[in-house]
Symmetry: C2
Subunit: 126 residues, 2 copies
Amino acid sequence: MSTDPESNLRTIDEVRFQKLWAGISGRIVEGERITVAVVELEPNGTVPSHQHEHEQMGLVIRGQVTFTVGDETRTFGPGGTWRVPSMTPHGALTGPDGATVVDVFNPTREDWHPAPIDEEVKPRWP
Amino acid sequence: MSTDPESNLRTIDEVRFQKLWAGISGRIVEGERITVAVVELEPNGTVPSHQHEHEQMGLVIRGQVTFTVGDETRTFGPGGTWRVPSMTPHGALTGPDGATVVDVFNPTREDWHPAPIDEEVKPRWP
């Protein structure tokens, strides 16, 4: 937490680790048009199918994710990518080690209201 | 190259590895509003300062990058992040192992015309 939050150059561990949804924690870097989220998904977790106006794209950095976009489903390790067009249902399941993913959105996620994390949860990447 | 390029679920190694600029190769996933690029930077390489209308955000996945945005400069390993507001000069230097970075842009990089890679260059991540 050493650098100015207004800086355009931060290490991800300088960014507050927050609860984004149930079972999903992460760190968010907000741009003017793009939100970048480095998301930690719990082991054997579920992100229920949902949809939003934002276009979402992302990739797996660590662990295993079974991702569904519309009527496509695929299980990925690191390097697996997704594109979620606006208003397209999508969801995910994680493997036994959980996963770290990068998700990016346009427009920014003004609708997100991350909550502080009470419990001792540590990011697993990098 | 086994999956449909129109698929929304692809592994990054199914995406064509291309020359993006001199000394910079990568794989591009195009969305409707966002371009995601997994970029390989050569060892001891330089990305000269440049600017564009697109907002750019990104992070280091592998290796070391010294990134400059406007009047800020910082040397990063994995987890280092940047925000490049529209029309802000930015550039980078890499360390002795080069680097793999994820760069995302809004709007999409319609101005890019990646060229095929003749020589045998292999992505180093994942």
